[in-house]
C-alpha cells in the first residue's frame, strides 16, 4: 500500500464533469466491486473504480468455461454475471463509499427500459460519481442487435438515459463497428458527458481435439495487450471527432502503454486485464505516471493529452 494516498501534484484531471485525483481507473469487470483486492490495492490511490456491469436484476452469467487464454490476450464470456441493482446498492456500494476515490457504476440492460431503470435507480444516489453505459449488450427486443453497433439505437438510448439520471453519463463504445468516430459523435449529440473505449473485441477459439469452441458460450470478448494497437487507434480517431473527454483502455500493462492512450487523446485510462496479471497494476500505474512526469519535467499530465505528433517534423 502506498503510504500517502493523497492527491499527487500534476496528475489530477477533469473527466466528464468529475474530478479525478489521477487519470487511472480500474476497468469494469476486472476489479469486481472494489472490495476483493483490498489486500493489494488501497483504493484511495486510484483515480476511480468502475464497477462490474450492473443490471436491474441479478444475473447468473454463462456456464463455464468462461475464459480462455489467447496470444497476448484472453477471451471472456462471463455473461455479465452480477448481483443486480438492489444488492449492489445495499451490499457493495457502502464499501466503495469508504474511500476517497471516484465510483463509476457500469450499467447495462437488454432493453431500453432496463437501462433506464438502472440509470434511474442510481440517480441521486450518494457516492455514485458517474455511470458508464455499456452499450455492447444486445437489444433483445430489436432482435439481438447490440445497442452499440447501431448509431440510431445508440442515440435513442443515450438520449433517454440522459433524462433518467442526474449523474454524468460515460458511454462505453463497442469496438466491433466500422467507424468508431460515428458512434462517438452520436453519443455526444445525444448528451453523453464522456466516451469510454474500447470494450472487448468479439473473438472465438476452437479446440481442435474436441472440435468445440473453448468457451461454452461459443464466442467471447478479446482483451489484453493483443488489442492495444486497435484500442490506441480507436481512441485517436475518437478523440479527434468529439469534444467530450475520452477514457482509454485496452491492453494497458505499463506506463508506456498508458502514455500511448493519453498521447492519442485519452484524458484518463482504465486498467483491465492487467489486474489479473498483476493485482497491483492500477496503483503501480499511478506511481509510474507520477515518476514519469517528474523525470521528464512535465508540469502536469494534462499537457500530454492528445499530444501525439502526426505531421512531418
Amino acid at each position: 500500500m502506498t503510504p500517502n494516498p493523497d492527491h499527487l501534484p500534476g496528475l489530477d484531471v477533469d473527466f466528464a464533469g468529475i474530478r479525478l485525483k489521477n487519470p487511472v481507473l480500474a476497468a469494469s469487470g476486472t476489479f469486481g466491486y472494489g472490495s476483493e483486492l483490498s489486500q493489494e490495492v488501497d483504493l484511495n490511490t486510484l483515480g476511480g473504480v468502475i464497477t462490474k456491469g450492473i443490471s436491474l436484476r441479478p444475473r447468473s452469467g454463462n456456464p463455464p468455461p468462461r475464459i480462455v487464454e489467447t496470444p497476448s490476450g484472453m477471451l471472456n464470456a462471463i455473461g455479465l454475471q452480477n448481483v443486480g441493482l438492489e444488492a449492489f446498492l445495499k451490499d457493495k456500494l457502502p464499501y466503495l463509499r469508504g474511500f476517497d476515490t471516484r465510483v463509476i457504476v457500469n450499467i447495462f440492460g437488454e432493453s431500453v427500459d432496463e437501462y433506464r431503470a438502472v440509470a434511474a435507480g442510481l440517480s441521486g444516489v450518494e457516492g455514485v460519481d458517474a455511470l458508464e453505459v455499456n452499450v455492447s449488450c444486445p437489444n433483445v427486443k430489436a432482435g439481438g442487435i447490440e445497442f452499440g453497433t447501431d448509431v440510431n439505437q445508440l442515440k435513442a438510448l443515450i438520449s433517454i438515459l440522459k433524462e433518467s439520471t442526474d449523474k454524468p453519463l460515460i458511454v462505453k463504445l463497442s469496438p466491433n463497428v466500422g467507424r468508431i468516430a460515428d458512434f462517438a459523435r452520436a453519443a455526444e449529440e445525444a448528451g453523453a458527458d464522456g466516451i469510454s473505449l474500447i470494450n472487448t473485441v468479439i473473438g472465438m477459439s476452437i479446440d481442435p481435439r474436441t472440435r468445440r469452441p473453448r468457451l461454452a458460450n461459443g464466442t467471447g470478448g478479446l482483451s489484453g495487450p493483443a488489442i492495444r494497437p486497435i484500442a490506441v487507434r480507436m481512441v485517436w480517431e475518437t478523440a479527434r471527432a468529439v469534444k467530450i473527454p475520452v477514457l482509454g483502455m485496452g491492453g494497458i500493462l505499463t506506463v508506456e502503454d498508458a502514455l500511448e492512450f493519453i498521447l492519442a487523446g485519452a484524458s484518463a485510462v482504465a486498467v483491465g486485464t492487467a489486474t489479473f496479471v498483476n493485482p497491483r497494476a492500477a496503483p503501480d500505474l499511478v506511481e509510474g505516471l507520477r515518476q514519469f512526469i517528474a523525470r521528464e519535467n512535465i508540469p502536469h499530465v494534462s499537457r500530454l493529452i492528445g499530444g501525439v505528433i502526426t505531421g512531418n517534423a
Binding site: E40, S60, G61, P63, I67, T275, F276, N278
Partner: protein, 260 residues
C-alpha cells in the same frame, strides 16, 4: 499483501511429468492453509499472459518456504519447469478458502495426480496439530508414475492405498473402488482430482451420508474473485442456474453443493 517475489530454493524432478518447487516466501508460508492455492506468473512476456493456479503442497512457516507440486501439462508448466534455484517468480497467494475443520475422527483423503498436493498439505497439517485423528489416503492414477508424493505420506506414518488404471501399482481400477470401507458418519472425505472422480466420490458420499469436501479445478484468469471467470455450477433454490467462484468461494466446496 498477497503478492510475493519468491526465490526458488529447490526444484525436484519427481515421477514422470511431475515436478516440485520450494519457494522462499515467508509471508505466504505463514499465512497458507491446506486447500489454498497460489497464482504464479510463468513468464514476464505477454505470451502466455495469465498466471497459472497451483495448490499449495506444503508450507513451512518457521522456514519461510512454501512448496508446489505440479505436472507438466502445456506451455505454462513447461516454462515453470525451466526455472532454476536462485531464480525468482511472481506469486500471488495464499488464495481461496482452505479445507474446513471437521469433527470426524476418520479423515479420508481421496485424490490423484495434480489433486494430491492440497491433500498432502492437509495431512501434514493435521498430523502436526491433531495427531489423534486417523488419516487414510486413497490415491488413484492412470499409472504408477501418477502416485505422487506417496513416500511423503508414508513418512508421516500414513498408509496409502493406491489404484491405477493400468494395474502398474496397487489395485487395478479406479480409486473409488477402494472407497466403500471408508463411508459413514464417523468419516470425512476430502477429495481433489479430475471432475469425473470428484463426481463419483460425491455421489458415494451423499448416498452414504458421509461428509465430503471437494476441491475443484476451474480455469482461472485472476484467482482473486474479480473476473468471475471461474464459475462452478451449484445447486440453488428457485433460480434456473447459479454459480459460485472457484477462486474465492472455493476451491473447496461441500460436495452436496456442486452441480456436476
Amino acid at each position: 499483501m498477497r503478492t510475493h517475489r519468491a526465490e526458488i530454493r529447490e526444484r525436484r524432478d519427481r515421477t514422470g511429468p511431475y515436478r516440485s518447487l520450494v519457494l522462499d516466501a515467508p509471508a505466504l508460508a505463514e499465512a497458507a492453509r491446506p486447500g489454498q492455492f497460489v497464482m504464479i506468473r510463468v513468464s514476464d512476456t505477454t505470451d502466455p499472459l495469465l498466471r497459472r493456479p497451483f495448490s499449495l503442497f506444503r508450507a513451512d512457516g518457521p522456514a519461510g518456504t512454501a512448496e508446489i507440486l505440479f505436472r507438466i501439462m502445456g506451455r505454462g508448466t513447461s516454462m515453470l519447469d525451466r526455472l532454476q534455484p536462485g531464480e525468482k517468480v511472481d506469486v500471488v497467494g495464499p488464495l481461496g478458502k482452505p479445507f474446513p475443520s471437521l469433527p470426524m475422527d476418520e479423515i479420508v483423503l481421496v485424490g490423484g495426480g495434480v489433486g494430491i498436493p492440497p491433500l498432502f498439505f492437509y495431512a501434514e497439517w493435521i498430523r502436526g496439530r491433531e495427531p489423534a485423528r486417523n488419516v487414510h489416503v486413497l490415491m488413484g492414477g492412470r499409472t504408477k508414475g501418477d502416485l505422487v508424493a506417496r513416500e511423503e505420506f508414508e513418512r508421516l506414518g500414513i498408509e496409502v492405498q493406491a489404484a491405477t488404471d493400468d494395474g502398474s501399482a496397487g489395485h487395478a481400477g479406479v480409486v473409488t473402488d477402494l472407497l466403500r470401507p471408508f463411508l459413514g458418519p464417523s468419516h470425512a472425505i476430502l477429495a481433489c482430482g479430475p471432475a469425473p472422480m470428484l463426481k463419483a466420490v460425491s455421489e458415494m458420499a451423499t448416498k452414504s451420508k458421509t461428509k465430503c469436501c471437494v476441491s475443484v479445478e476451474e480455469r482461472m484468469a485472476c484467482g482473486l474473485g474479480v473476473c468471475m471467470g471461474c464459475a462452478v455450477p451449484v445447486r440453488s433454490e428457485g433460480e434456473a442456474r447459479s454459480y459460485r467462484l472457484a477462486c474465492t468461494d472455493g476451491p473447496v466446496f461441500d460436495a452436496e453443493e456442486v452441480l456436476w
